[in-house]
């Protein structure tokens, strides 16, 4: 079994806990005793934070809508399709006809590259997330 110290994915308290894994599978969570926020405790959401990761409904591959239904696609195909469509829309209308919703769930680094994609690549300030909701 191996353990990794990480940060809770739920509320804004930001508790620190250890994720326990066995053969690339999460088996449990224990709070960090020394972490200034969690101090050896967690709420029920934190204690169970590992479970949803292996839920069978996880999205496991890219999908593209065809004739009204989503079908499995390779990463190459999905990324090519997405990039081509975004370019077409930018060229046909304006870059401002595109919007970006970044996320309060993903990491800082991921938010940063999304922001860079909007502002730096699309020269577009239409970026927001649901902080308000």
């Amino acid at each position: 079994m191996s353990t990794v110290l990480t940060t809770c994915p739920y509320c804004g308290c930001g508790c620190g806990f250890y994720l326990h894994t066995e053969h690339n599978k999460l088996v449990g969570v224990t709070p960090s005793q020394e972490h200034p926020v969690s101090r050896g405790t967690l709420c029920v959401k934190g204690w169970n934070a590992h479970e949803m990761v292996h839920h069978p409904e996880r999205l496991k591959y890219p999908m593209i809508r065809e004739n009204g239904v989503l079908r499995r696609a390779s990463w190459e195909e999905a990324l090519d399709f997405t990039a081509r469509k975004l370019q077409e829309i930018r060229d046909k209308y304006t870059t401002e006809s595109i919007g970006f919703f970044t996320s309060a769930k993903v990491t800082n680094e991921e938010n940063y590259v999304m922001m860079k994609l909007a502002r730096g690549v699309f020269l577009n300030s239409n970026i927001d997330h649901c902080a308000r909701l």
């Binding site: 990794v4 110290l5 990480t6 940060t7 809770c8 739920y10 804004g12 308290c13 930001g14 620190g16 994720l19 894994t21 690339n24 999460l26 020394e34 200034p36 709420c43 029920v44 959401k45 169970n48 934070a49 949803m52 990761v53 996880r58 999205l59 496991k60 591959y61 999908m63 593209i64 990463w75 999905a78 990324l79 469509k85 975004l86 829309i89 919703f101 970044t102 309060a104 769930k105 993903v106 990491t107 800082n108 680094e109 991921e110 938010n111 590259v113 922001m115 994609l117 502002r119 730096g120 690549v121 020269l123 577009n124 300030s125 970026i127 927001d128 997330h129 902080a131 308000r132 909701l133």
Partner: protein, 528 residues
């Protein structure tokens, strides 16, 4: 938050408004209880009898949507009774006279009429908050999710400045951020008006700095559109494509029907997420991101602590870390983003963001994170803000008038509906509702009703009723409880089987664009 989580347990007074802290921020709730047990006075302002009420010296049940009136009333008492911090007001603030003039009319009696709170309670709360040295304010969405959300926040700040409860340990204005990385998404410029670290897009030197670092020209100097604006544009056919990462507006946004129409108008909807949901169901392309356990990077908590997220397992299926997906797209768009890891990205953030400059990947390897602002590699981080001076110099009082909610009860819709969360679940429920224990504890939506209201409607506990507003209706079982005031009903927003956002009012704050989830007019009908 201006201050830190570990300052709560040492406070002498904690003023909680619009936050069900023990359920939504359990670690902070626990500290408030710890403080209460050590003798701190707790003031709870909430129409529901949340758990903290058990520890409260005063429980104020203001009518939903009357926070400004209440806070102005408290400030009226503080000024009348000469309890404000004259030295702080003189040395560190401006515009006090305007505040004094405005709050003069908000006498406890006048405020009592607007809010339904006994005048004595307003006076009591004012005295407790003002006369303790270490008084902290904590608030959450109960303050922001109103058409006057921005004015609510300003009014909270007025109160803290008036009493000098700023810039010291165990004081301050402490918004409790709901999602794990809302703070970080804002810090990283995931907002229409700022780059990282709140550097304004309207600031020419800032734009030039980013253009130079990114090797591009033509970054727009104007503010972009908010979520609310973009959805409205999509509805009108002005927005053609939307790239949504890790959000489910079909569950989280008000007036679901309107959102659905808006998303259906798009020529291209890209959704990147970890589970299928109501929004991926409308997507043209679905890109599988991975969860916190499968990625490396950082989150920023509500006290501005930047902490490591560490990968424990390989991504499930073909899912990929969200940053890698974005970089792969950028590559195809002719703008290669060559990062070998999260650390490369954080180093770029360090270079471009003064408040994050010293929060380097190397420093985060040990310890438990660093609180920004952290301007250089030797800086220890900042547990509380505004020590000795506000960032902008003087703190400006911005007096605000009470306004009525956009929709108030009337003969047709006589009840007030408010929404929120429960302890067991999180946000739209996409993760917690896939967790056995949490789902076992709470697997069904409910509407909380006061026994008197239930009696007048002739409904029983657990009976499935129809809750309706001008926007829609849902079927939902009742939960009769005297923990809510008569005339008010509460429904959590986690449950896709009875989506409360079919009912909520999309009317929003003109500046903050926050929808008024906390108040709309509703009625309850018996089924059949």
């Amino acid at each position: 938050m201006t201050n830190s989580i570990n300052e709560f347990q040492n406070a002498e007074c904690i003023f909680v408004i619009g936050s069900n802290t023990t359920e939504q921020h359990p670690e902070i709730g626990a500290r408030i209880i710890e403080a209460a047990k050590k003798g701190a006075k707790i003031i709870v302002c909430d129409a529901r009898s949340i758990r903290l009420v058990k520890y409260a010296a005063v429980h104020i049940k203001q009518r939903n949507g009357t926070d400004i009136a209440l806070l102005n009333g408290i400030m009226n008492v503080i000024i009348q009774e000469d309890l404000y911090d004259k030295q702080f007001v003189a040395e560190r603030t401006e515009n006090f006279d305007a505040l004094k003039t405005l709050v003069a009319k908000y006498t406890p009696e006048y405020v009592s009429k607007i809010t339904g709170v006994p005048a004595d309670d307003i006076i009591k709360a004012a005295r407790i908050y003002a006369t303790h040295k270490k008084s902290m304010i904590a608030y959450a969405m109960g303050i922001t999710q109103h058409i006057c959300g921005v004015d609510n926040v300003k009014t909270v700040a007025n109160l803290a400045m008036l009493t000098g409860h700023v810039g010291m340990e165990s004081t301050g204005v402490n918004p409790l951020r709901g999602q794990n990385n809302v703070q970080g998404a804002c810090d990283m410029g995931g907002l229409p008006n700022v780059f990282t670290g709140y550097q304004k897009v309207t600031d020419e030197p800032v734009c030039q700095k980013f253009e130079k670092a990114w090797g591009v020209t033509g970054i727009p100097r104007k503010v972009g559109k908010t979520v609310t604006d973009m959805l409205a544009m999509a509805h009108k056919g002005e927005l053609k494509a939307l790239y949504i990462m890790g959000e489910n507006p079909m569950m989280s946004d008000p007036d679901t029907k309107h959102v659905e129409d808006a998303l259906k108008h798009l020529e291209l909807l890209i959704v990147q997420d970890i589970f299928p949901n109501e929004t991926t169901a409308l997507a043209h392309v679905v890109l599988p991101g991975c969860t916190f356990a499968e990625k490396d990077g950082t989150f920023s908590n509500t006290e501005r602590r930047v902490s490591r997220v560490r990968k424990a397992i390989e991504p499930i299926g073909e899912s990929r870390q969200d940053w890698q997906i974005i970089c792969d797209l950028a590559q195809r768009l002719g703008y290669p983003m060559k990062y070998s890891s999260w650390a490369d990205i954080l180093r770029e953030i360090n270079e471009l963001t003064p408040s994050y400059a010293g929060i380097t990947p190397e420093r985060l390897e040990t310890g438990f994170g660093i609180q920004w602002p952290c301007p250089n590699k030797d800086h220890p981080g900042t547990p509380y803000l505004h020590k000795g001076k506000f960032t902008k110099g003087l703190g400006t009082f911005v007096p605000c008038e009470h306004i009525e909610p956009n929709e108030v009860p009337d003969a047709e819709y006589p009840l007030t509906l408010t929404t929120g969360r429960v302890y067991w679940h999180y946000h739209t429920g996409s993760m917690t509702r896939r967790t056995n224990l949490l789902e076992r504890e709470c697997n069904q939506n409910f509407v909380e009703i006061h026994p008197d209201t239930a009696k007048s409607l002739n409904v029983r506990n657990g009976e499935t009723v129809i809750v309706e507003t001008r926007r829609g209706s849902i079927e939902i079982p009742t939960k009769i409880t005297d923990e809510i005031v008569p005339g008010l009903i509460f429904v959590p927003f986690h449950f896709t089987e009875a989506k409360v956002n079919l009912l909520t009012n999309p009317a929003h704050d003109p500046v903050g664009k926050i929808p008024e989830y906390k108040v709309c007019a509703a009625r309850i009908r018996k089924k059949g």
